[in-house]
C-alpha cells in the first residue's frame, strides 16, 4: 500500500512574504507620517511655553543672561582645546573630542546687536536663576532680558516690585488701550480721509480722461476737489491733534530696564507687549502667559520682520484664497467632467483630452504661477484696468498679483483632480439608476440632474477635498501671483466695495518660507516655522474635516440597508 505523503502549502503560495512587504510598506508610511506630525506638534506646542532665564558667568568674567534655546555637541578647534585646563582637555578627549554648548536667547538687540549667544560648558564658572529676572516682550527690538528698575506713571516715578503689581498692570493697560485707540484712529478715521482724498483725485482724473483738461466739467471738478480737500484737511488736523495728545500722554508712562551688565534703556508702556518674571512663575501664571501668547499669535498682525506678533492676516488670506479656489474649481471641473463622461462621444479625441487633463496634474506648479501672472494678472487684469480703472493708471489695480488671480491660478492647478474624481464618481453611478430614470420618461439631462449628479456628489466632494488640500499647501505659484511678505490690509474691510479681490495677501505657506529662510533672525524664526506649520496643517485639517462631514452626510442618503 503506497504511503500518502503529507501535503503542506508552502509559504510562497500562502502569500506570506507578500503580506510582510505590504504590511511593512504601510508601517513605514505610518511611521513617517506620525513622526512628522509629532515633530511639528511638539515643537509647535512648546514654542510659547515661558522658559526660565539663566545667568551664566564665564571663567573670563563675561555674564550672559538669557533663555536656554537649544544645546548641541561640537568639536572645539585644536588651539581652543590647547588653551583649556587639563581637566577639561581630558574630559573632551574622553568624549572623542566633542564638547557641549548651549545657545542662549539673550534678547536686547538694541544694546548687544545680537539676539543669541553660544556658551560652551567648559567656559562656565557658574549658572544661576535669579528671581528678579524679567522677560520683556516689546513692539520693537525684540525681547528684553534683564530687570526692571523703576517705572513712571504720568511722569511720577514708582519703584518696581513685580510685574503683577496692580499699579504696574494698570498703567500698562491704560497705555496699551491708548495705543490701540491711536492705531484705530490712524487706520479708520485717517484712513477714511485718505480714501476720500484719493477717490476725489481719481474722480477728477477720470473726468480729465473723458473730457480733457480744458473742459468746464474738469475745471468744476477741480474746484470742488479743492474745497473738499480743505474740509478733509481740517478733519485730518483735528484727528492728528487728538493722536498727538494721546501720544504725549503715553510718553509720560515709561519703564526703565536694566540688562545684566548694568546698561539701562527706557521704553514706553505702550510699546510693552507683556513682561513676566521668568524664574518666579507659578504654574497658573505660566499657563496664562502661554495662552496669551497663543491668542496674540492667532489674532494679531506680524511685527519684527514676521518673527514676532501674530499671523492673523496669513490665516485669513489662506482661508479666503482656498475657499475662493474651491468656488472657482468646483463648477468648472464638474461641468468639464460631465461633458467628458456623459455627452462626449467616447473616441480617440476624448481619450486624448483625458490624458492631457491627467498630465496637467504633473506640470510643475511654478509654471502655473508664471501662467497666472502672464495671463490672469497682465492680460486679463491689464484689460480690466484699462477698461474700468483707467484713472488709477499707471498704478495697477487688477493688473498685478492679487487674491483673485491667486485663487484662479490654484483653481487651474487643481482642476485635473476635480475632473478625474468627478469622472470616476459619474462612472460609478449604477447603470440601473440611469435606466430606471430613462424608463420613466426622463430626458438625459433630467436623469443627470435628478439621479446621476446627486448620486455622484460624495465622489465629487472627495475630489474637491483633494483639490483643497493640494491648493492650500501650494506656495510656489503664489509667490508670483499675489502673496507678499507683509499685507496687514485684509481683503475685506469697511471701504467700498468691501471685498477687495485685487489686493495682495499673506499666506501661511509663504509665511513659513519667509520666517524660516528669508528673515534676518533665522534662529528666532525657527520655532515660528513649527508653529505656523502646525497652524497650516490644522487649518487644512479643519477645512477637510468640514468637507468630509458634509460628504458623509450625503453618503448616508445612498446607503439604506437592503433587507
Amino acid at each position: 500500500m503506497p504511503t500518502k505523503t503529507p501535503r503542506t502549502t508552502d509559504m510562497r503560495s500562502r502569500g506570506e512574504p507578500a503580506l510582510w512587504s505590504l504590511g511593512g510598506a504601510l508601517a513605514i508610511g505610518i511611521i513617517m507620517i506620525i513622526g512628522f506630525l509629532i515633530l511639528v506638534l511638539w515643537n509647535g506646542i512648546v514654542t510659547f511655553v515661558p522658559k526660565p532665564i539663566a545667568i551664566v558667568t564665564e571663567l573670563d568674567g563675561t555674564v550672559t543672561a538669557g533663555e536656554p534655546f537649544r544645546a548641541e555637541t561640537f568639536k572645539p578647534a585644536p588651539d581652543m582645546l590647547a588653551a583649556l585646563p587639563a581637566e577639561w582637555q581630558a574630559k573632551i578627549s574622553a568624549n572623542d573630542g566633542y564638547a557641549h554648548r548651549t545657545l542662549y536667547r539673550i534678547g536686547n538687540f538694541d544694546l548687544y546687536g545680537e539676539d543669541f549667544r553660544w556658551v560652551s560648558d567648559f567656559s562656565i564658572s557658574k549658572t544661576e536663576y535669579r528671581e528678579e529676572m524679567v522677560f520683556v516682550e516689546r513692539l520693537e527690538w525684540g525681547p528684553f532680558v534683564g530687570t526692571i528698575k523703576s517705572f513712571t506713571v504720568d511722569g511720577v516715578e514708582h519703584a518696581f516690585t513685580s510685574p503683577r503689581d496692580p499699579v504696574f498692570e494698570n498703567v500698562h493697560e491704560v497705555s496699551r488701550d491708548r495705543w490701540r485707540k491711536i492705531a484705530d484712529i490712524e487706520h479708520d478715521e485717517i484712513g477714511a480721509i485718505n480714501y476720500d482724498l484719493e477717490r476725489g483725485r481719481l474722480d477728477v482724473r477720470k473726468i480729465e480722461l473723458e473730457s480733457g483738461k480744458q473742459s468746464p466739467e474738469y475745471i468744476a471738478a477741480q474746484k470742488s476737489l479743492e474745497s473738499q480737500s480743505l474740509a478733509l484737511q481740517r478733519d485730518y488736523d483735528a484727528y492728528a491733534k487728538q493722536v498727538q495728545e494721546m501720544r504725549s500722554k503715553n510718553a509720560l508712562n515709561t519703564l526703565t530696564l536694566v540688562e545684566v551688565g548694568g546698561r539701562e534703556t527706557t521704553i514706553e508702556f505702550s510699546e510693552l507687549v507683556r513682561a513676566y518674571a521668568a524664574n518666579d512663575l507659578s504654574v497658573l501664571q505660566s499657563v496664562a502667559v502661554y495662552f496669551s501668547r497663543w491668542w496674540e499669535f492667532l489674532s494679531d498682525e506680524p511685527r519684527e520682520a514676521n518673527t514676532e506678533g501674530g499671523v492673523f492676516p496669513a490665516i485669513f488670506g489662506t482661508a479666503a484664497m482656498t475657499l475662493l479656489m474651491v468656488v472657482a474649481v468646483t463648477p468648472f471641473g464638474v461641468i468639464t467632467a460631465l461633458y467628458l463622461r456623459e455627452y462626449a462621444a467616447q473616441g480617440r479625441l476624448v481619450s486624448f483630452v483625458r490624458i492631457s487633463v491627467n498630465n496637467l496634474a504633473g506640470v510643475p506648479s511654478i509654471v502655473y504661477g508664471v501662467f497666472g501672472l502672464g495671463f490672469f494678472a497682465y492680460v486679463l487684469g491689464g484689460s480690466i484696468d484699462a477698461l474700468f480703472y483707467a484713472e488709477h493708471l499707471p498704478n495697477p489695480t487688477f493688473g498685478t498679483g492679487g487674491l483673485m488671480w491667486a485663487s484662479l491660478t490654484l483653481a487651474l492647478l487643481t482642476v485635473p483632480v476635480v475632473i478625474v474624481a468627478t469622472e470616476e464618481a459619474l462612472a460609478a453611478v449604477p447603470r440601473s439608476m440611469r435606466e430606471g430614470s430613462l424608463a420613466c420618461g426622463a430626458s438625459k439631462w433630467q436623469t443627470i440632474r435628478y439621479i446621476v449628479l446627486p448620486r455622484a456628489m460624495p465622489g465629487i466632494m472627495t475630489g474637491v477635498i483633494l483639490a483643497m488640500a493640494r491648493g492650500a499647501g501650494e506656495v510656489a505659484p503664489l509667490m508670483l501671483v499675489g502673496v507678499v511678505k507683509l499685507a496687514p490690509e485684509l481683503p475685506i474691510d469697511g471701504f467700498f466695495p468691501f471685498v477687495h479681490l485685487e489686493r495682495s495677501f499673506m499666506h501661511l505657506g509663504f509665511h513659513i518660507y519667509d520666517v524660516g529662510f528669508q528673515s534676518r533672525n533665522a534662529e528666532a524664526g525657527k520655532p515660528m516655522v513649527f508653529v505656523t506649520t502646525m497652524l497650516l496643517i490644522a487649518l487644512i485639517a479643519t477645512m477637510n474635516t468640514t468637507a468630509i462631514v458634509i460628504r458623509n452626510r450625503l453618503k448616508r442618503k445612498f446607503s439604506g440597508s437592503q433587507f
Binding site: 435606466e435 430606471g436 424608463a439 420618461g441 435628478y450 439604506g560 440597508s561
Partner: protein, 276 residues
C-alpha cells in the same frame, strides 16, 4: 447591464425554420414586424414577428442569450444606450412606429413603464420615487402628486406598508418592497404597456409570490410583457407565451397551448426541461 450579451450561435442547417405563430389578434397594442437587431457584428434578433394583445399578460421565455431581454428593451428603445446597435424592421405602438425618425423617444417611454431585474429605487424618499415620472413631466401640483402616489402605491399593493413612511428613504425598504415600489413608479404615469424584465429573479419566494399576485391584479388594466426564466411563473401569470431560441421567435400562442401541446419540438424540449 441587463442585456443577455452571450453571442448568439450560428444557426445549424437543420435548424427549425418555421415559426409556429398561431396567435392572431384584431387589437394588438404592440406590433413587431420583421425585427432584426445587431450588437456591433453579432446578430441578436432574427426576423421577429409578434403582436402583443391589449390588456393581456405576455410572457417571453427561453434559455439565456435567446434575446428575450433584447426584444423587451427594443420595445421602449432602452437599447439606444448601447454603442454599435443596428436595428431593422418595425415596432408599432398603437400604430405609431417607434423607430421612426420623427418619433420622440422620451414621449414614447412615458407611454410604457418598465420594471427591471434588480429593484432600482432612486436614493430619495418613497414619495419622490413614485412621483418621479410626473416630476420629469413637469407636474408640480401637490394635490395631484399626492393623489397619484397613493393610487400607484395602492395598485402596487404597497400602500399599507408604506403610507406611514412616505418621506423615508426608499433604500430602507426590503427587496420585495423595493420591487413593488418600482412597479408603482412604473405605473404612476398611467402607461399603456408595462414591461417587466425578470422582475422576480432577485427576490425570495415570498416576495416573488406577492409580485405574481400583483401581476395578476394589474392584468387587464395594463398590457404586460414579462421576461422570465422561470417556466412555472410564466405558466402561472401569463395569458400568452412566446418561446424564443437563439434570437428567433420559435413559438407564440396562448400559454396553455405552449405548455401543454406545443407545436415545435424545440418548445417541447424546453418546457419539459430537456434543455435550457
Amino acid at each position: 447591464m441587463n442585456v443577455d450579451a452571450t453571442p448568439v450561435a450560428r444557426l445549424d442547417d437543420d435548424f427549425e425554420k418555421t415559426v409556429y405563430h398561431i396567435k392572431t389578434s384584431d387589437g394588438p397594442i404592440l406590433d413587431i414586424k420583421d425585427l432584426c437587431l445587431w450588437y456591433s457584428q453579432t446578430q441578436a434578433l432574427f426576423n421577429v414577428d409578434m403582436s402583443i394583445e391589449k390588456g393581456m399578460v405576455t410572457a417571453l421565455i427561453g434559455p439565456s442569450g435567446c434575446g428575450k431581454s433584447t426584444l423587451l428593451r427594443s420595445v421602449n428603445r432602452m437599447n439606444d444606450l448601447v454603442d454599435g446597435l443596428k436595428i431593422t424592421g418595425r415596432i408599432k405602438l398603437h400604430g405609431d412606429d417607434i423607430y421612426d425618425r420623427s418619433a420622440d423617444v422620451i414621449a414614447l417611454r412615458k407611454r410604457m413603464g418598465m420594471v427591471f431585474q434588480k429593484p432600482n429605487p432612486f436614493p430619495m424618499s418613497i414619495f419622490e420615487n413614485v412621483i418621479y415620472p410626473l416630476k420629469v413631466d413637469g407636474v408640480r401640483d401637490k394635490a395631484i402628486l399626492e393623489d397619484t402616489c397613493e393610487r400607484a402605491l395602492k395598485s402596487a399593493a404597497l400602500w399599507n406598508e408604506a403610507k406611514d413612511r412616505l418621506n423615508e428613504n426608499a433604500l430602507g425598504l426590503s427587496g420585495g418592497q423595493q420591487q413593488r415600489l418600482c412597479i408603482a413608479r412604473a405605473i404612476a404615469a398611467d402607461p399603456e404597456v408595462l414591461l417587466m424584465d425578470e422582475p422576480c429573479s432577485a427576490l425570495d419566494p415570498i416576495a416573488t409570490a406577492k409580485i405574481e399576485d400583483l401581476i395578476n391584479e394589474l392584468a387587464g388594466r395594463y398590457s404586460i410583457v414579462i421576461v422570465t426564466h422561470n417556466m412555472q411563473q410564466a405558466a402561472r401569470v401569463s395569458d400568452n407565451t412566446a418561446f424564443m431560441y437563439l434570437g428567433r421567435l420559435i413559438e407564440y400562442g396562448d400559454t396553455e397551448t405552449v405548455f401543454q401541446t406545443p407545436h415545435s419540438p424545440k418548445t417541447q424540449d424546453y418546457v419539459t426541461g430537456r434543455f435550457g
